[in-house]
Structures are given as structure tokens and as C-alpha cells.
């Protein structure tokens, strides 16, 4: 197994030298299987980090660990204070058995947005994710892509400074994909830190400043995006990009 390389981010760091996200020695096992095996990573305060890796590498687990949803067995995750309340778009979003609008209202309530401010915010979110026409539809009857967009809108409801996106465009059409990418870039432009899991190499190239490559529960490589895609350092990443799999 190749050594993990931690390469500093190419994007400019904010004044303070503290990293935005510092993960060290993260371990996680379930029913005897080691799923995350000593992940250590340092990410900046801003910018878009793509998290790549084969199916089952542990990307979704890592994202959930960063979101604080699953406690690691060992290791630490430190988020800078401003990133302390991340929003997560799940790979398989679970929507409430309510209308699309009510799902957003619920999220806004949990985010502490005062009741009076919610309707305007909901309209805005629906607009952004192109769901205005479907506001009254029961969320669970929406099409796959529509549900994914609603999950994205819900994540944006809390106006998070850290956005964790687990394959947010996996079942989106080209137009919607472009829209979500635009939203993501706009958010990053506002200083929101984004970690994006994707299997779409082109998407990672379009959006990401740096790439973390996860393989069998290890962060095998961390490099600026252009370097990662042109000359991946690890054999695993090379194989992944070529569509092979090293076992």
C-alpha cells in the first residue's frame, strides 16, 4: 500500500494558520470489519475538496463522521469553530412524509430560523433548486432527481459554512447537474467549505481545488486537483481513474 501524501492546499488559506478541518488517526469498524483505518487529513477553511474512491472505500462513512453523526472508534476530528455546524446531503436522502415545502420549513425550524422569515427563505431555496413547481408535492413522490435536489435545498436551509455533499448529482440530468454545480461554486465563492463525494471525474475536475483519494478505509492520496488527475501518485488512484480496481 502506497504511503499517504498530504500535500498543502493550493487555494489561499485564511489569515489564521489553524486548519479548517483536522482529522487524525480516524478508525471505525462495524461487526468486526475495519471500515476506516487510520484516516488523517488536513483541509482548509474554504474551497471545494473532492473525495474520490471506489465503492465501499468509506467515503460516505468519512463524511458522516465529519458531520458528527457517527462517532469514530478512535482518532479525532477537529473542525474550526466557524465550520462546527456542517450540513450533509446524504447519498440516499431521507425525506419527511410531507410536502417538499414542509420539508424545507422543518429544516428551517431546526436551524432556528424565525417563523416569519421562513416563507421567503423557502421560496428562495425552491427557486435555487428548481423545485418551485413541485413545492406542494409530497416529498416522497418526487422523482429520484427531484428528491436529490430537495435534499440539497434542505442542506442549504441552515446556511452552513461547511457543506458535505455525498454524490449530490448522481441521478440528476445535465441541466440540474449544472445547476447544482453552480450552486456549489457560488457557495464556495461565499467562503463555504465544501467536501464533495463524486464518481464523476469530470465533475471533480470542474469543481475541486484538491482531491482526497480514499481506498479501503485509508486516505491514500491528497493532492491539488490538477496534479491528482494528471499524475496520480498512488497505484490505487491510477487504477481507479482507469476503471481498474486493485484489491
Amino acid at each position: 500500500m502506497a504511503e499517504r501524501r498530504v500535500i498543502p492546499l493550493s487555494r489561499p488559506e485564511p489569515p489564521n494558520a489553524e486548519p479548517g478541518i483536522a482529522i487524525s488517526g480516524l478508525h471505525l469498524s462495524r461487526s468486526g470489519r475495519a471500515l476506516l483505518r487510520g484516516v488523517s487529513l488536513t483541509l482548509g477553511h474554504t474551497g471545494i475538496t473532492a473525495l474520490l474512491g471506489p465503492n465501499g472505500a468509506g467515503k460516505s462513512l468519512l463524511l458522516r463522521a465529519i458531520a458528527g453523526i457517527i462517532p469514530p472508534d478512535a482518532g479525532e476530528i477537529n473542525l474550526a469553530p466557524r465550520l462546527a455546524h456542517p450540513a450533509l446531503v446524504f447519498q440516499k436522502p431521507v425525506l419527511l412524509r410531507r410536502s417538499a415545502r414542509a420539508n424545507l420549513a422543518h429544516a428551517l425550524k431546526l436551524a432556528g430560523v424565525p417563523r416569519a422569515a421562513r416563507p421567503a427563505r423557502i421560496s428562495d431555496l425552491l427557486e435555487q433548486c428548481d423545485l418551485t413547481a413541485l413545492a406542494a408535492s409530497p416529498a416522497r413522490s418526487l422523482s429520484g432527481g427531484e428528491q436529490q435536489r430537495l435534499a440539497m435545498a434542505r442542506a442549504l436551509a441552515g446556511d452552513p459554512a461547511l457543506l458535505l455533499l455525498d454524490e449530490p448529482t448522481a441521478s440528476l440530468d445535465p441541466k440540474a447537474t449544472a445547476a447544482i454545480e453552480a450552486i456549489t461554486l457560488r457557495a464556495a465563492g461565499r467562503g463555504v467549505k465544501v467536501i464533495l463525494v463524486t464518481h464523476d471525474r469530470a465533475q471533480a475536475e470542474r469543481l475541486a481545488g484538491d482531491v482526497v483519494f480514499l481506498h479501503k478505509g485509508r486516505a491514500v492520496e491528497h493532492a491539488p486537483a490538477p496534479r491528482f488527475f494528471s499524475t496520480p501518485a498512488s497505484a490505487e488512484a491510477q487504477a481507479y481513474l482507469e476503471g481498474r480496481l486493485i484489491l
Binding site: 453523526i69 455546524h85 419527511l96 422543518h106 429544516a107
Partner: protein
């Protein structure tokens, strides 16, 4: 089976005549049962949700106790309340024994465990689906409970109906703490028990039929409600 025919005629007669005594009994039954089920829901829903998603010491034990309490024998509940509320008992000064209030308390004790245990199961199942999402939305434990209870409402109606069934059918406890006193604490079930011990089987059966008709009506209404509130779920 002439006894049944007789009973049905008698039941019809009771409803048609609707004499004052009979109406008094029906009204008291409805009040006691209705109030008891409402209170049991008010306690049982949050308690069940707490047992499902709460994280506190003794949760397992409490959950087990609630579940076992579904098997509380009414006579025992009645007895314990009798001992507490009797003149000689510690709460005797309240003068609650042989009042409708005592009957409501007895039914609440009997019904709450059923509603809480069923709620726990329902909310636990939903929590398996929603817990990560709610945590990602940074819901507090109380907010999560609220959301899950709201999502669970069709199933909660069924839980409430199970509790209602128990409360409507219950006789042992209300007999002891209510005393089945005519014009004061006599309800449908204790009246049925009385007619039975009098050997007035047809009249007892007639009262039972009336009770069942009431139960059918309430269930129909609540199941309609259940369907209506359940619709967005699959719609």
C-alpha cells in the same frame, strides 16, 4: 340462539328508548374512557418516544417495565389504588375513592403502558430510518422526538385505538375503585357485570352490543382520520 335474538332486540330497544338511566351510564362511560385515553396518549406518546430515542440511564429497564406493565391485572391496579385512596390510605383525604376521577386514574394506569410500548416500537422503527437525517439537521433530542411522533401519526392512531379498546372493555379496576355505584360510578362494563351476576344475560348482552356499536363508531371515525393523515405518506 333465541337468547341472541332477544339480546339484539333488547339492545335496539335500549338505544331507541334511550331512557335516562341508560343514557347516564353511557355518558359516564364515554367521559371516563375518553378522558383516560386522552391522558394516556398525552403521557404514552412522549414516553414511548423517549424510550425509543432517549439516551439515559435506566432506559432499558424502564422500557422493560412499561412493556411488562401491559400485563398489569386490572384487579391489582384497582386494589393498589383502593389501598391508596381508601379512607385509611395515604391519599384518603382526597376523597377520590368511588368517584369517576378514581376510575379515570385506574384506566390511565392500565392504558398508558399499552400506548407507550406501542409508541416506542413505532418510533424506534422510524428512528432507524430518520435518525441520521435528523442528526444531520442538528435536531435536539426533543425536536427529533417531536418530528418522529408527527411522522408516526397513522400508527399512533392504531396505538391509541388499542388503548381505547382496553379502556372501553376494562371492568376489574373500575369496579373496585369506582364501586359500580348506581347514578354515580356505574359505567357500561360494570353494568354488564352486574346484569350478568343477576342472571339477566340478555340485558347484559344488549349492553355489550351497545358498547360494541360505540366501539365500531369510534374506530370508524379514527380509522378515517388515520387514513386521511396517512395519505401524504404514500400519496
Amino acid at each position: 340462539m333465541s337468547a341472541f335474538r332477544e339480546a339484539i332486540a333488547e339492545a335496539a330497544g335500549l338505544i331507541v328508548r334511550a331512557d335516562a338511566d341508560f343514557l347516564e351510564i353511557v355518558a359516564l362511560s364515554a367521559q371516563v374512557t375518553g378522558l383516560a385515553v386522552l391522558i394516556a396518549c398525552a403521557i404514552g406518546f412522549p414516553l414511548g418516544a423517549l424510550l425509543a430515542v432517549g439516551r439515559f440511564r435506566g432506559r432499558g429497564a424502564l422500557s422493560l417495565a412499561v412493556s411488562a406493565a401491559m400485563g398489569l391485572p386490572p384487579v391489582v391496579v384497582g386494589l393498589v389504588l383502593y389501598m391508596l385512596l381508601s379512607r385509611a390510605g395515604p391519599l384518603g383525604v382526597l376523597g377520590l375513592l368511588y368517584t369517576p376521577t378514581a376510575m379515570v386514574i385506574a384506566q390511565v394506569v392500565l392504558v398508558t403502558p399499552i400506548i407507550a410500548a406501542l409508541t416506542r416500537q413505532v418510533v424506534e422503527d422510524l428512528d432507524a430510518e430518520y435518525s441520521e437525517t435528523l442528526r444531520a439537521l442538528r435536531a435536539t433530542r426533543a425536536q427529533a422526538m417531536g418530528t418522529l411522533l408527527w411522522e408516526a401519526r397513522p400508527a399512533l392512531v392504531t396505538a391509541a385505538l388499542a388503548g381505547l379498546g382496553r379502556a372501553m372493555a376494562e371492568v376489574g379496576a373500575v369496579m373496585i375503585v369506582g364501586g359500580n355505584i348506581d347514578h354515580l360510578t356505574r359505567v357500561m362494563t360494570t353494568a354488564i357485570a352486574l346484569e350478568t351476576s343477576r342472571g339477566e344475560l340478555a340485558l347484559a348482552l344488549a349492553l355489550g352490543i351497545v358498547l360494541l356499536v360505540a366501539s365500531l363508531a369510534i374506530n370508524a371515525a379514527l380509522m378515517g382520520l388515520r387514513q386521511r393523515i396517512g395519505e401524504p405518506a404514500h400519496g
